[in-house]
């Protein structure tokens, strides 16, 4: 509100000017507005994904507040006496009872529930896509490593929010989900049972868990998320937004629209678009029909019992682990069929979180990076990302192994074994294929820069030879293709004491792994040489031989 009033020109005089003056004299808000209003945001569709997450979160907060007015977070047994006939007279917890009342007997309650749940799914999904964008464009590099970590913690917290929310209605589905968590916790040697009893206030399911999850869900986790979002956004303001390389865009500037008025209007409008899409989905499609699942009872389990999508990878890991890994040792049961997935997922998560620091160490790059990489220009990183995505996707798909089996008429065992292969071997295949594809695309870019694009015009030379004329790229397009950072493998150097440490060796070998196969960007000399050569008269292959042989001294190998 105040931002709008202070923006009003004072010439009108009267009330507006007086009011804004009054506020400014007491808060000095004009400085902040001037500063923020001039913030520049580069324009690219993928830069809006984080905003989608933010807006979904706002939607979640709004609808969640509505739901808290009617939800009763207690496990006191009550007899349902609401409108839904197939549950009339059934004993259930107060939590389930109140959720059914929200769904059937409170005006707008079902829509609010569905908006809340769909928005939660979109929240985590948009965070995931946002993280992929950050990763594959290298936006996590200095100075943004810490912001990556903050964002990553937000992702984990969002999953925590999702899972606690999923468990609140105390229906059959959520109870089964909690039972799996209980089982995983109990699988931890020595302390597992104690932790489980602490969590559930005694033996599962007890009468405590819904109340406890509710406190986490509406108080603790949202508070931390809001604080971290604020920090996350503050860092964006401090660091300025990254941008894709392009004409006029350098590491030292940011090209785009200022927040006021254009960007604020766009972003504000976009909030309502996101809200609208979520509401549209929620009003047309059922989500989590707890009335089908009925109240929680430890004995029944429904076919197709799955967690919400973002917990799927953990469920999938449990489904993929082969049987027979449990044994008794030292008078205790060691459930390696629980421990191996737990450790594997923990390692995976840790690698994702720490990746920016690993890459910074391997490259030895201490510079700030405000220009994004095109994924092909960082082949090893892109390949690592693809391997990670494949690993995650395999685990994720495994959570729906039974649905895949029934809907594609396959055997469940076949699906499981295929996905075991995908999770273990798939990442390696994805790594090599992606790396080769990146290198090939870089090669194509090189050729485009050096020799132009095929114009489709065939010319007959005086000697009778036919050639296709290659047209040079325009400057803007060429700039996009040649401006990227080129890394070379680090040399092993002795330290001050004249020794080569183990860390140095590891670092050098990692660096070799990262940058051994690479295509160097076209240099100015190469470009001039290519253009001086009269490149568009001759066949591509011949030109390439000449330029590569003559000029490309530091281009090491391409592997083939």
């Amino acid at each position: 509100m105040s931002t709008v009033t202070t923006q009003q020109p004072a010439k009108k005089g009267g009330f507006t000017a007086a009011a804004s003056n009054y506020i400014d004299e007491r808060t000095s808000i004009s400085t902040a507005v001037k500063e923020l209003g001039r913030k520049i945001f580069p324009d690219h569709w993928s830069f809006l994904l984080g905003e989608v997450a933010l807006y979904s979160f706002v939607v979640i907060l709004l609808t969640g507040s509505f739901l808290t007015f009617f939800f009763h977070a207690a496990m006191t047994p009550v007899v349902y006496d609401g409108s839904y006939v197939p549950l009339k007279g059934v004993e259930m917890s107060a939590a389930m009872n109140s959720t059914l009342n929200i769904s059937f007997d409170i005006r707008g309650g079902l829509l609010m529930r569905q908006v809340h749940h769909w928005a939660a799914l979109l929240f985590v999904a948009s965070i995931g896509l946002h993280m992929l964008r950050i990763f594959f464009t290298g936006a996590f590099r200095k100075p943004r490593e810490l912001n990556w970590v903050i964002g990553f913690v937000l992702f984990i917290l969002a999953m925590g929010e999702g899972f606690t929310g999923y468990s609140l209605p105390d229906d059959l589905l959520s109870g089964n989900g909690l039972r799996i968590i209980d089982g995983m916790v109990k699988g931890i040697p020595l302390v597992g049972t104690w932790i489980s009893f602490l969590l559930f206030g005694g033996e599962f399911p007890g009468e405590q868990i819904v109340g406890r999850l509710y406190t986490l869900h509406i108080l603790l986790l949202p508070a931390i998320i809001v604080a971290l979002i604020a920090l996350h956004l503050l860092f964006i303001v401090i660091h300025k937004h990254t941008q894709f390389p392009g004409p006029g865009r350098t590491n030292g500037n940011a090209v785009g629209y200022p927040v006021l008025p254009v960007y604020a209007a766009k972003a504000g409008g976009f909030f309502f678009i996101v809200f609208g899409v979520i509401t549209l989905i929620a009003s047309l499609f059922t989500i989590n029909p707890i009335w089908n699942y009925g109240p929680y009872d430890p004995s029944p389990v429904s076919a197709g019992t799955q967690p919400d999508w973002y917990i799927g990878f953990a469920d999938g890991a449990l489904r993929l682990i082969p049987p027979g890994l449990e044994f008794v040792w030292l008078d205790r049961t060691w459930s390696f069929n629980i421990l191996i997935p737990l450790v594997a997922l923990g390692l995976f998560i840790a690698v994702v979180m720490l990746y920016p620091f690993v890459e910074a160490w391997v490259t030895g790059d201490k510079r700030e990076h405000h220009l994004l990489d095109r994924p092909r220009n960082a082949p090893t990183r892109t390949a690592i990302g693809a391997a990670g995505v494949t690993f995650y996707a395999g685990l994720w798909a495994a959570a729906s192994s039974d649905i895949i089996a029934t809907h594609f008429m396959l055997t469940m065992e076949g699906v499981i074994h295929t996905l075991q292969f995908v999770v273990i071997v798939g990442p390696f295949i994805a790594y090599f294929v992606t790396k080769r594809v990146c290198l090939a695309l870089q090669k194509k870019d090189r050729e485009l820069v050096l020799h132009g694009y095929e114009s489709g015009r065939i010319v007959k030379l005086p000697g009778g030879e036919f050639i296709e004329v290659h047209e040079p790229l325009d400057e803007y397009e060429r700039w996009r293709l040649v401006s990227f950072t080129d890394y070379k493998p680090l040399m092993i150097r002795p330290n001050a004491n004249g020794k080569i440490t183990v860390a140095q060796r590891v670092r050098a070998s990692l660096s070799r792994w990262f940058f051994e196969d690479r295509i160097a960007p076209v240099t100015k000399t190469e470009l001039e040489a290519a253009h001086g050569h009269g490149h568009h008269e001759v066949d591509m292959g011949e030109v390439e031989e000449i330029t590569v042989g003559e000029m490309n001294v530091h281009r090491e190998t391409v592997g083939r």
Binding site: F104, A125, I278, N288
Partner: protein, 269 residues
């Protein structure tokens, strides 16, 4: 749909049958002896028995020899390719043939549903023939299968006994080795009842001591409720649970959002 179509004409032809009067008296007797019927289900489900005559049994035998005996053997004594049908009862035949599972088109993990191969009279004749070979569960009476019971009790029983394979909303689910529990979204009450008493494919038998006929009626009532009442929340996405929801939000939710971000940023260029 298919089951509804096939079951309705059967009832119609039943009314027009020469022996319908006898059947009507039998039903009347069965209803009058209510208390007895409640305890002894064989009486309650015996109303169709008088309709079986020597002629339908003979017709059934001919059909059986022409269509079923290859695997089940002459006299339904069973061969290495198919089990003996002595004592499986009319309910089993009416379910297997009436839903198109039998005659089997090909061997596989389990008999798949396909278009019904016989008319209702022929199915009836086959059922009568097999029932004449030895006592077994008969085709249930209408009052047990018309969905007039207690849906809440049925829903609870369904969750406890059936949902682990058929899913809480009857959407079906996977079993081992390519077998599966089919969706119950368009199965008639008669066939659901017959499946419970005969235990086709991998399904266990739920006899009358296990789940009483009234409880079976309640289960059918619940499934009919789910069939007839669409989800109050909108399209069900196949009632498959969080997998369908996750797929939907990624493809259509996030997909449309990404399309909108492209639109928003493209306008300004």
């Amino acid at each position: 749909m298919r089951e509804k179509r096939t079951s309705k004409p059967r009832r119609k032809s039943g009314r027009r049958h020469p022996l319908a009067t006898v059947a009507l008296i039998a039903i009347g007797l069965a209803v009058t002896g209510g208390a007895y019927a409640a305890i002894n289900s064989s009486t309650a489900t015996a109303d169709t028995r008088p309709v079986a005559s020597q002629s339908t049994i003979e017709q059934g035998e001919k059909l059986f020899q022409a269509n079923c005996a290859t695997c089940h053997g002459m006299g339904a004594a069973g061969t290495s390719a198919g089990p003996s049908l002595v004592g499986v009862g009319a309910a089993s035949v009416d379910f297997q043939v009436g839903t198109g599972r039998m005659p089997l088109a090909q061997t596989g993990p389990q008999a798949e549903q396909k278009p019904v191969q016989f008319t209702d009279d022929q199915v009836k004749a086959l059922a009568d023939y097999v029932a004449s070979l030895g006592p077994g569960p008969s085709i249930p009476a209408d009052h047990l299968t018309n969905g007039g019971g207690n849906a809440a009790n049925g829903a609870e029983l369904f969750r406890i006994n059936c949902a682990m394979c058929h899913n809480v909303a009857g959407a079906g689910g996977a079993l081992t080795e390519g077998k599966f529990a089919p969706a119950l979204t368009d199965v008639s009450g008669v066939h659901i009842y017959e499946a419970m008493v005969s235990g086709p494919q991998s399904m266990p038998v739920f006899n009358d001591l296990n789940i009483s006929p009234e409880d079976k009626r309640d289960i059918i009532t619940y499934l009919k409720y789910v069939q007839d009442n669409r989800s109050p929340g909108g399209f069900e996405l196949g009632s498959l649970g969080p997998v369908a929801e996750g797929l939907f939000i990624w493809i259509f939710g996030l997909g449309s959002i990404v399309a909108l971000t492209i639109w928003i940023t493209a306008k300004s260029n």
